[in-house]
């Protein structure tokens, strides 16, 4: 592993990179909600997920970042685009918006963010920077794998059964006639 030997002398994330990717993720996340064309929304969601993967990498979570790109930006988004094109959804025609309901929804979302903001402001740990990691980069794939097949072996197998059930469920749901 090439990056295994790189000394980690700068324990903290570069602020420029952090804010670049955070803004990228948030702007395209907002574009998902704002766009009226479902395909444009789905493509904005891909960019948002890529920005999030970069943030995972900045937190030294390389395995999670790569899984994020493969599973979300790859598999899940292909599924979304496939369904949008299968249903042949056009840009939504404008309907008359219930203004009271719209304002209420926006107010609830805004109040929710204010609440989160206040809670994080009260949290003492929120003002601390991240502690440095050891000079030699740790291989997180090995450590996560050891936990996954050791400590979390039973949940891991239950997840396998869950995916099997989901597969069968999707096939049953997609049959021509539901009985």
């Amino acid at each position: 592993m090439a990056f295994n030997q790189v000394p980690n002398d700068s324990p903290n994330v570069s602020p420029i990179l952090f804010w670049t990717f955070a803004l990228l993720m948030l702007v395209f996340g907002a574009a998902v909600v704002i766009n009226r064309n479902p395909i444009a929304s789905a493509l904005s969601l891909v960019v948002s997920f890529l920005g999030l993967a970069a943030l995972f990498m900045s937190l030294d979570a390389f395995l999670i970042g790569i899984i994020q790109v493969l599973v979300y930006a790859g598999a899940v988004m292909v599924l979304f685009l496939f369904i949008i094109m299968l249903l042949d959804l056009r840009a939504e025609e404008r309907r008359k918006v219930n203004v009271v309901a719209f304002a209420g929804g926006a107010a609830v979302a805004f109040a929710f963010f204010i609440q989160i903001f206040c809670v994080i402001g009260k949290l003492g740990a929120a003002k601390q920077t991240f502690p440095p990691l050891p000079a030699v980069k740790t291989d997180d794939v090995r450590n996560i794998g050891l936990l996954l097949f050791g400590n979390y072996n039973l949940p891991f197998q239950i997840i396998g059964v869950l995916i099997l059930v989901a597969t069968i469920g999707v096939i049953v749901l997609s049959k021509r006639e539901l009985r």
């Binding site: 994330v13 602020p15 952090f18 955070a22 948030l26 996340g29 907002a30 998902v32 909600v33 479902p38 929304s41 969601l45 948002s48 997920f49 999030l52 943030l55 995972f56 937190l59 979570a61 999670i64 599973v71 979300y72 899940v76 599924l79 979304f80 369904i83 949008i84 249903l87 939504e92 929804g105 926006a106 609830v108 979302a109 929710f112 963010f113 903001f117 949290l123 740990a125 929120a126 003002k127 601390q128 920077t129 991240f130 990691l133 050891p134 740790t138 997180d140 450590n143 936990l147 400590n151 979390y152 997840i159 995916i163 989901a166 597969t167 469920g169 999707v170 749901l173 997609s174 539901l178």
Partner: protein, 108 residues
């Protein structure tokens, strides 16, 4: 602003969650609502990974339990997307719409 703190990651995570929450509340297209749900799941993942990096253990490594949890969340979310989209396709076949205001059989 000079160095990145845990709070910065949590604020960004909270903003992403709020965007997803607003999408669920404001949009009327069921597929967009579904995408907003994914945004909310990812916001939770971001704060989990940030806490994992913050809580460095006695051995100097991040707390990998949180990352295993994120792994499970991503797996369950992928299964959920598959089932949810199959339900949307079945719904579209029965009603020819993805607009939630047209699907009101259970409305009281």
């Amino acid at each position: 602003m000079n160095t990145i703190t845990l709070g910065d990651y949590l604020i960004v995570s909270g903003l992403l969650f709020t965007i997803g929450f607003a999408g669920v509340m404001l949009r009327r297209n069921i597929i967009i609502i579904f995408m907003s749900l994914e945004l909310m799941l990812n916001a939770a993942n971001l704060s989990l990974v940030a806490f994992s990096r913050f809580r460095v253990g006695a051995d100097g490594l991040p707390n990998y339990n949180a990352q295993v949890f994120v792994f499970f969340i991503i797996t369950v979310a992928a299964a959920e997307v598959a089932v949810g989209l199959a339900i949307i396709v079945a719904l579209y076949r029965a009603r020819q719409t993805t607009h939630v205001e047209d699907i009101s059989t259970l409305k009281f």
